[in-house]
Symmetry: C3
Subunit: 334 residues, 3 copies
């Protein structure tokens, strides 16, 4: 495997092989598989789960990692092409990224959405400008529009718990949050659930439709897998018979990149907090999922998070095993 | 070993086995003992020795570690139960701590005293609220009222140098410091020296008595070990025949949690700086101990720290070996 | 090898042995050579390449490292001898450095120039005051006046590309930069190129002469190796026939330590930006070198950095292999 940017780059059987490998590494450790191998971790925005789970993944496979964040560099890194660097920044990403990559066997890059233009973010412009500077295998540790490590972990978590693929109902529900958040997780999640063969409902208020490009990509995955994708603002229709309620807040498409307008627009939507009533018409075994971090009492009620439906800790834990599988495929015998 | 919270949780022979193991790992490295094993290091307050010594300990045993401090998380971590998280904090410790633990085979937690209430701190409320969120083996890397890694290292240091257990005289002396410091080290130290079978004198100005709960715990340990514990403000009585003078500053009990009042109260006590005269009536081989960091010329004179009596670097170095023994017992064959 | 402070401490055949070992470790990994070994990395100023390349080097050899920077310590570290520490600093380097070293098998120290006095910086006062506190093998990760890891990497890079030693022409050229920078890299570079047996020209504007002590040390190396060293402000004479143009900005000697005066003095020198015309009379295969970070459009034109002459990424990559060779010689069988 050369890169891990997007689940859509893989065939279903390749994903199944990764999931099987993740499960095998969970039950049968390979503490020498990556002896002497190095993973570079480049964070352009803060992180807790990703930082910890990748470092732990490399250690469990016998290798190591180093962490670079721009605040380690004096006055940050310059990203604009062709600029005369007579200001504060002392280094350009055109040197920094290839140098960091030159010390490593693979590199993970976290590059958040710039949220200035929906079109630019939908093409993952910032992430792609980084990854093109590296020749080693690259891992998307969350970009403007994708989060394949989270999606692979979520897929494994549902498999571990026997949530049906074909015929399973997956509800991705928008939830309230005081701030406009990126589209990375909802975009990756709707595609993952569709690719897994599930019947996916995206439940959101008017004005929070997922962009067409995201819905079309998910629909294409559903067509291949035998799943389906619909979008609705009708709670009852969406939640009836659900096997999974996956909560996540995201920016409004309408006011994308305009934070004050978005925050004004979402005012009054604070009843979009997942609580017991959401599960009334759901499947008896319906589970609650969230990628974390999550705001208690805002996105979801304490009693859901602390109750038996919640599988958020398992999702987070599976980040490590999913990433171990990716690293193993990339780096063993490399 | 499931947890390492407090030396008082162990029998004397268990401590002896740990010390023996620490000595063996010092002389006979085991660089593959913990291959593929991961230690999570969670710091709720800054650290230098603890950070470095735990990372080095895991490397020497062939495993690895990762470090989490709350400033890595956007706007910090929420700790209050039942709160509606519509403010700055984006994550609650009820998710963050179990997630961090889910990547690791053991977790070290540093949780300083809140110093709002002596009663709360004496029960190690903050540390306990953290550790209860983890199911893996847990290590106390300093809490409001304990510091078992320091104590095990100090015990080993005295053993290494032949300081007598039974019949040895251990003086824990308060020292001046411009600020009110926690009770963790004095509480752990008086108990450790008593458990080691020594005759312990706590020397401190009036108003800096150690809380009853701390003294009673030490007295109970002394009763088992054949040692003794007294508290005094009489320098001559305390220091006569001492094998060890262990200096440490701490908050006044009287003004606990009230920093301005404490700082006012300690004014004029700046002659509590350990210097040559303190050793005049001590045992010829009397050693100077301190857990570090130490303020030169304030807590202790340069000539003591730089002279042959000082064993502060050995104490710090033994942190690593003591912790290697704890990790080895926790994680080998786990 | 006990220490790696300065290439001048080694004979030519010792450097050749290090370079050969670096090349061997590049082509034939030894992922278990340093199992259980620990490198301490002490940074008194920020770093990206050094931080990443040393961590990667230890991982590739099967060992590990930990990083300490003074901002990890509450209120920083005190460095002044004999001071009464009743201010902000809670720890003195006289404890901090030996403690850090006590956890490690070797220590790397980065200590920048104080730039208060040229005389003090020329004796590497700050670096030496740190290293004298450690008894384990020590590596200079850049000091006021030296950067031996960079120089060894640069030497290897020229060897890798077949740049001639004897008879090769090496131009170390001053370049414009808005701020006064240290002398470490130019001092190390002129000495390295001379020791390698090359004919070295130091090209710089009037007032930016390298201090006598630096030039004399380089001249002594040239005498041994059969190379030569001259200093000039004549572009044509310097650049004619050059095999290497190595750009670097540095402080004026005249206004050393006086930042406003230096910045005033360098105004108008912004045409010292390496660009195509600099290569007109150079050797056809003339390469561009720089230690990084580099300001694009200020020190060097984009078309040079992005063109085939630039070998800056190879230099940075060779930091890792050069350092692996040093660590291997220091720590295998230690």
């Amino acid at each position: 495997m050369k890169d891990f940017h997007d689940l859509a780059d893989f065939q279903a059987d390749e994903i199944n092989a990764l999931l099987e490998l993740a499960g095998r590494l969970e039950s049968s450790p390979e503490p020498h598989a990556l002896a002497g191998k190095v993973l570079a971790l480049l964070f352009l925005s803060p992180s807790l789960r990703t930082l910890a789970s990748f470092q732990a993944a490399m250690t469990r496979l016998g290798g190591g990692s180093f962490v670079i964040s721009p605040n380690m560099s004096i006055h940050g890194l310059e990203t604009r092409p062709g600029i005369v660097m007579d200001g504060m920044a002392a280094e350009h990403i055109r040197e920094a990224v290839p140098v960091i990559a030159s010390y490593a066997d693979a590199i993970g890059i976290r590059a958040f959405a710039e949220r200035e233009s929906l079109e630019a973010d939908l093409t993952d412009k910032e992430f792609n400008s980084m990854r093109e500077l590296c020749e080693i295998p690259r891992i998307n540790m969350e970009s403007a529009i994708n989060h394949p490590c989270q999606s692979l972990a979520d897929w494994k978590t549902m498999d571990d718990l026997g949530v049906p693929r074909s015929g399973g109902k997956f509800v991705l529900s928008w939830a309230y949050h005081p701030r406009a958040l990126p589209l990375a997780v909802p975009a990756a999640t709707v595609h993952m659930a569709a690719m897994r063969g599930m019947d996916v409902s995206v439940l959101r208020p008017e004005g929070f439709e997922l962009p067409d490009a995201i819905m079309q990509k998910a629909a294409a995955a559903a067509e291949k897998s035998g799943g389906s994708v619909v979008e609705t603002s009708d709670h009852d229709a969406a939640l009836e018979g659900a096997n999974i309620i996956y909560a996540k807040s995201w920016s409004s498409t309408k006011h994308y990149g305009n934070r004050p307008a978005d925050e004004e627009f979402r005012r009054g939507l604070d009843d979009w907090c997942v609580d017991e009533p959401w599960f009334e018409k759901a499947h008896d075994d319906c589970r609650f999922m969230h990628c974390l971090p999550v705001r208690r009492g805002v996105v979801v009620a304490d009693r859901i998070l602390d109750g038996p439906r919640s599988i958020v800790i398992q999702e987070a834990r599976n980040r490590m095993y999913a990433q171990m599988a990716v690293l193993h495929q990339m780096l063993v015998n490399s």
